[in-house]
C-alpha cells in the first residue's frame, strides 16, 4: 500500500491557540477520504499544511514522501487544491483562468480542462464573477484537475452550494475519481452528501484526530447497543463506549469493539456512518483519544 498523505505528530499553532494538534494519520493512495468535523476543528489547517500554504509548528507532513514546505514544487505539481469558498480571480474570464493554469503548471492538461468545461456548458468567454456559485466551484475543480494531480485536496467544496449544485459538483468529482489514479481528501462539516462518494473517513474535532480509517472497517468495528440501563456498566466494563445516551430505564451505547457483544439483554445493531460520526463529535475531548489510537490502523 503506498501512501498519499502522512502526518506524524503534526501541529499548527496560531499565537497561543492550537488549530491542529498531535495529528497522526495516513491516507493510502487511491482512497477518497472525507475529513469531517465541526467548524473550527482544524480541517482547513490540516489541508493547508498538506499543500504547503501553511507550515507545521511541530511534527511532519508528507505528500508522496515529500515535505510540502521543503520541496514545494515536487508537491505542488502533484496536488490539486480547492480552497474554501473556491477563490478565483473574479475579473478574469474562464479562458484567462485556464491561461493562468497553463502558465503556472508544467503538468497542465488543457484538454482535460476544455472537455470538462464543455460538458458543464460553462462558456470560456464568461467572466468568472458572473458565473453562479455552483459554476464557480466547478471552474475551481477544473483548474485543480487540469494540473493532473495525484492528490486532490478540497476544503469544504460544497458547503456554500445549493443542493442541486452540490450534487452536480460531487458527480464531477466522482467522474474524475473514476478515471483513476487520484487520491482525494475533502473536508466537510456535514457528512450527508459525502457518504456516497467517500470510502475513507477522518474525524477531526477540537484540533485532534478522533477516528481515522476505511469506512468499511469503521462500520465493522462499531456497534449500537440498546438495553436496560442498570446493566450498562457491564457493557462499559468490557467494551469501549464512545457515546452513551440514557433514558429512564433504557441505555443506548455506541461502542467501538472488535469482539462480538453477546449479552442477551442487549439489542445489537450496526450503526449508520452518520451515527458513528455524531457519536465521536458529541463526546468530550478528554476521553476521546483512546479509541482513536486503536482504530487508526484499522484499515
Amino acid at each position: 500500500m503506498s501512501i498519499a498523505l502522512e502526518t506524524t505528530g503534526l501541529g499548527r499553532r496560531y499565537g497561543s491557540t492550537w488549530a491542529l494538534r498531535d495529528c497522526s494519520l495516513v491516507i493510502p493512495q487511491g482512497r477518497v477520504a472525507a475529513l469531517v468535523g465541526p467548524n473550527g476543528a482544524g480541517k482547513t489547517t490540516l489541508l493547508q499544511l498538506a499543500v504547503g500554504v501553511s507550515r507545521p509548528s511541530v511534527g511532519r507532513v508528507e505528500v508522496f514522501g515529500w515535505s510540502p514546505h521543503e520541496q514545494p514544487l515536487l508537491v505542488l505539481a502533484r496536488v490539486g487544491f480547492v480552497a474554501q469558498d473556491h477563490p478565483l480571480y473574479r475579473g478574469f474570464t474562464v479562458a484567462e483562468m485556464l491561461r493562468m493554469g497553463r502558465k503556472l503548471n508544467p503538468r497542465w492538461d488543457d484538454t482535460v480542462a476544455l472537455e470538462r468545461l464543455d460538458r458543464l456548458s460553462i462558456p470560456l468567454g464568461q467572466r468568472v464573477g458572473k458565473l453562479s456559485g455552483g459554476q464557480q466551484a466547478q471552474v475551481a475543480l477544473v483548474l485543480a484537475l487540469a494540473k493532473r494531480p495525484e492528490l486532490l485536496l478540497l476544503d469544504e467544496p460544497v458547503a456554500a452550494l445549493d443542493p442541486l449544485a452540490r450534487r452536480e459538483f460531487l458527480q464531477s468529482l466522482m467522474d474524475a475519481v473514476a478515471e483513476g489514479g487520484l487520491t482525494v481528501l475533502l473536508s466537510s462539516h456535514i457528512l450527508a452528501d459525502l457518504e456516497r462518494v467517500c470510502d475513507h473517513l477522518v474525524i477531526l474535532s477540537a484540533s485532534r484526530v478522533h477516528l481515522a480509517g476505511d469506512i468499511d472497517a469503521i462500520t465493522a468495528h462499531h456497534r449500537l447497543v440498546t438495553g436496560p440501563r442498570d446493566t450498562a456498566a457491564r457493557i462499559a466494563a468490557r467494551h469501549n463506549v464512545v457515546q452513551a445516551r440514557h433514558s429512564d430505564r433504557q441505555s443506548t451505547l455506541l461502542v467501538a469493539t472488535e469482539q462480538a457483544i453477546s449479552d442477551p439483554a442487549w439489542l445489537v445493531e450496526v450503526p449508520s456512518l452518520e451515527e458513528i460520526v455524531l457519536a465521536y463529535l458529541g463526546q468530550p475531548t478528554s476521553t476521546s483519544t483512546q479509541p482513536t489510537r486503536r482504530l487508526e490502523v484499522a484499515s
Partner: protein, 320 residues
C-alpha cells in the same frame, strides 16, 4: 507569472496611466506657456544671486505674480506619489483580502517566486511612474527654479530623487499594513495618514533645521551676499549691527529706513554702509541641494525597505 501579474494589475495600471497622461497634458500646455512668457521677458539673465540687468526687477515680479496661483496649485501634486503608491500596492493587498493568493500559491510555483515577481513588477511600475512625474515637474518648474533656485519646498519636493522615494514609501506602507490586516481600505487609510504625517513633519520641522546645521553669515550692506544664499533655503535674514545697544535704532532713524519710496533705497543703502551696518542670513546654501535630496530620499527608502522586509517575512511565516 509576468502575464498573471500584468493581468491582475491591468486595471490599476491603465487607471494610473490615464491619470498621468491627463496630468502630463496639463503640465505640457501650461509649461509651454510659462516658458514662452519667460523667454519673452528675457528672464534668463535674472537669476538670483548674480549681477542682474536693471530690467530684471519689475519683469521678475510681474512674471512670478502672473503664475503664482498656478504654482500654488502644484502643491496638490504632492499627493501624486501617494496615488502611484496606492495603485501599485492595492492589487497585491486585494489578493490577500479575497483569499485568491491561495489559488496562486497552490499552482506549481513557490511562494517566494510569486512574491518576488509581484514586488519587482510593482516596484518597477512605481519607479517608472514617479520618474516620469519627476522629469515632467522639473521641466515645468525650470523657469522658476532658474530665477529663485530649487531648495524651497515647492521645488525640492518634486525634483531630484525624493519623489521616487516618497512613492516607494507610500506603496510599502499600503503593502505592509494590507498584508498584515488583509484589508485594502484600512491599508490605504493608514498609508494616507502616515504619508501626510511623515511628509509634513519632516518638511516642517526636520529637513531645513536638522539635516545639516544652517549657516549663519553676515556681510556688509551693499556687498554681494555669500554664494548660494539667495537661491538656497533662507530661515531668516535682515540687518544686524555692531556697536552699543540702541545703535541700531539710532541708525535706522538716521537713515530713515522706511522703504516707502523705492527711489530712496540707494540713499538708504549708502547711509547704512556708512554706519557699518551688516546684513545677516541663516540659511541652507543651494549647494546642499543634492546632499539634502540624498538624506531625505535615504530616510524614505530605508523606511520602505523595513516595510517590505516586514511584508516578505509576514507572507513567508504568518500568511496562510
Amino acid at each position: 507569472m509576468t502575464w498573471l501579474t500584468w493581468r491582475q494589475q491591468r486595471l490599476e495600471a491603465l487607471l494610473g496611466a490615464a491619470v498621468m497622461a491627463a496630468l502630463a497634458a496639463v503640465l505640457v500646455i501650461t509649461g509651454r506657456h510659462i516658458a514662452a512668457a519667460y523667454d519673452h521677458a528675457r528672464l534668463a539673465a535674472c537669476s538670483l544671486g548674480h549681477a542682474q540687468p536693471n530690467s530684471c526687477g519689475d519683469n521678475v515680479l510681474h512674471f512670478t505674480a502672473r503664475f503664482s496661483s498656478l504654482v500654488n496649485l502644484t502643491t496638490w501634486l504632492n499627493m501624486v506619489p501617494l496615488l502611484i503608491g496606492i495603485l501599485v500596492a492595492a492589487p497585491i493587498v486585494l489578493e490577500f483580502e479575497h483569499g485568491t493568493h491561495r489559488l496562486a500559491w497552490t499552482q506549481t510555483i513557490t511562494r517566494r517566486r510569486w512574491l518576488g515577481t509581484r514586488l519587482t513588477l510593482a516596484a518597477a511600475a512605481a519607479i517608472a511612474a514617479a520618474l516620469a512625474f519627476t522629469l515632467l515637474m522639473t521641466w515645468w518648474r525650470g523657469p522658476f527654479d532658474h530665477l529663485a533656485g530649487r531648495f524651497d519646498t515647492g521645488a525640492f519636493d518634486f525634483e531630484g530623487a525624493v519623489p521616487i522615494a516618497y512613492t516607494l514609501f507610500a506603496a510599502s506602507v499600503v503593502l505592509a499594513v494590507g498584508t498584515v490586516l488583509r484589508r485594502t481600505l484600512p491599508a490605504i487609510a493608514v498609508g494616507l495618514v502616515s504619508f501626510l504625517v511623515l511628509r509634513l513633519g519632516i518638511e516642517g520641522w526636520i529637513r531645513y533645521q536638522h539635516y545639516l546645521a544652517p549657516l549663519h553669515k553676515t556681510w556688509p550692506v551693499g556687498t554681494p551676499a555669500p554664494a548660494g544664499e539667495a537661491t538656497g533655503y533662507i530661515t531668516s535674514n535682515g540687518l544686524t549691527f555692531t556697536g552699543p545697544p540702541g545703535a541700531g535704532r539710532q541708525m535706522i532713524q538716521a537713515c530713515n529706513v522706511t522703504y516707502t519710496d523705492p527711489r530712496s533705497l540707494q540713499g538708504v543703502s549708502a547711509c547704512l554702509r556708512h554706519h557699518h551696518a551688516l546684513q545677516y542670513a541663516i540659511y541652507q546654501p543651494a549647494s546642499r541641494f543634492w546632499t539634502f535630496q540624498a538624506i531625505e530620499a535615504g530616510i524614505f527608502l530605508a523606511l520602505s525597505l523595513i516595510l517590505v522586509a516586514t511584508t516578505i517575512w509576514w507572507v513567508n511565516h504568518r500568511l496562510t
